[in-house]
């Protein structure tokens, strides 16, 4: 006998499942349209946060939503639909942006990049292995410093966004935290480099 659990039939997960199971029916198409309408604003807001330009953000959002629609037939609810969608959107935005924007961030240009152009971000890219850098981060940085540096170096978030995401209330925001993390990580990498040189 049909017994539906206490779940909103118009929840994201069930709408996505409905489209995944029957994309050709009116119900499947309506479910998809509802999902797109429900989430397109937030997809745009995230894309805009990354690229900071309206037309580019619209193009990127459209691409993200097309990818979502393309992936939906394989969708199986494992948890929150939002987490599934966000990962599609953020990974796509990050790929589209590359790392070129980092150099254009005035906060970074003025305060974080060292004079010789070799900072933790550069070291991160040129490190022989990700594990080596992770070890250095674990050894030298506390949890908040690791997170701030990860958001900056790996996720390409602006200093302003990191300040907001981490709910930092000090006047310097995430900038101070990033400067400290940069200094400590540089020292740790330098120390490890010297130790490796001594062994050689």
């Amino acid at each position: 006998m049909a017994e539906v659990p206490e779940q909103d039939p118009n929840s994201d997960e069930l709408l996505a499942l409905r489209y995944a199971r029957d994309s050709a029916s009116a119900a499947g198409r309506a479910a998809l349209a509802t999902l797109v309408e429900r989430w397109s604003g937030r997809v745009y807001a995230w894309a805009y946060r990354i690229v900071r330009e309206r037309e580019q953000a619209l193009d990127l959002s459209q691409d993200c939503l097309v990818r979502m629609i393309g992936a939906l037939p394989r969708y199986e609810p494992r948890g929150k639909f939002a987490a599934w969608l966000f990962t599609i959107v953020h990974n796509r935005c990050r790929s589209a942006l590359g790392r070129s924007r980092w150099a254009r961030d005035p906060d970074i240009e003025l305060d974080l990049l060292p004079a010789d152009g070799v900072g933790p971000e550069h070291a991160y890219e040129s490190a022989e292995s990700e594990q080596r850098l992770m070890d250095a981060m674990d050894a030298s940085l506390d949890e908040r410093e690791r997170l701030a540096l990860w958001l900056r170096a790996e996720e390409g978030m602006s200093v302003q966004d990191i300040t907001r995401l981490m709910k930092i209330e000090s006047s310097s925001g995430a900038r101070g935290l990033l400067q400290t993390a940069r200094r400590k990580l540089s020292a740790e990498l330098e120390s490890r480099g010297r130790a490796q040189g001594d062994r050689a």
Partner: protein, 233 residues
């Protein structure tokens, strides 16, 4: 995770694990998990100070339009049918002017020509009109096709808006995962009273089910209402 990134499936699954699950406990210590968790919370926030509400609305409309134009989502074309108009009393028109001329002996040739044109027009319509598959199958504007429920005595009465172009409706009973478990067709009107003992096979009296209405035209579905969960009588 791949190249410092979670896959959509991996993050969704990881976040759904109990907090004391060893896999989740191990992930919580990593900066990438915490980064995704915080970014996701930010993504889900309805309001965003960086983008004004008006700009968000405009972006949403633009994206819906682009995706519809590219055929990824259906265009919004289904509109509720106009409210039924009360029948008007037909009064005989006075025979004067053109009407008087048409019905007089001098107007009979004109009537014959008009009749021939109607026959030709009907023939064209029967052979050249768009088939159902060629007909635009859009989705209802928000609020245009709504299901409402009301308890009346021992019955649960479902009612919904008429959809333009629909010639019948199907009341669909949905089980877990929104899979159809039963349906009942309604060929006339836009309401159905559900009573214990007269429910379709597959649904039990006293059970909680989700219900949606599918508008049909010539047997094909043209619109679906949002689903509602009700307790059956």
């Amino acid at each position: 995770m791949n190249d410092g990134r979670y896959t959509p499936e991996a993050l969704e699954r990881l976040l759904a694990l109990p907090e004391d699950d060893p896999e989740r406990v191990a992930a919580v210590g990593s900066p990438q998990f915490e980064a995704y968790r915080r970014m996701l919370a930010d993504f889900e926030r309805p309001g965003d100070a960086l983008v004004a509400d008006a700009e968000l609305d405009a972006a949403r409309a633009e994206l819906m339009s682009r995706l519809a134009a590219a055929g990824h989502i259906p265009p919004r074309t289904v509109t509720p049918a106009a409210a039924p108009v009360a029948p008007r009393t037909v009064r005989p028109l006075p025979r004067r002017g053109v009407l008087a001329w048409l019905t007089s002996g001098g107007g009979r040739p004109a009537l014959a020509v008009a009749g021939a044109l109607i026959v030709v027009g009907l023939g064209w319509w029967a052979t050249q009109r768009p088939t159902r598959d060629e007909t635009s199958r859009g989705i209802a504007e928000p609020g245009a096709f709504e299901l409402t429920t009301k308890k009346q005595g021992d019955a649960m009465v479902l009612s919904w808006n008429a959809v333009e172009g629909a010639d019948s409706y199907r009341v669909v009973f949905l089980g877990a995962g929104l899979a159809e478990v039963a349906h009942q067709d309604v060929s006339t009107g836009t309401s159905l009273a559900l009573r214990a003992g007269a429910l379709p096979a597959g649904v039990a009296s006293g059970s909680r089910v989700s219900i949606e209405i599918v508008a049909l035209r010539m047997g094909g579905d043209i619109a679906t209402s949002p689903a509602r969960t009700i307790l059956l009588p």
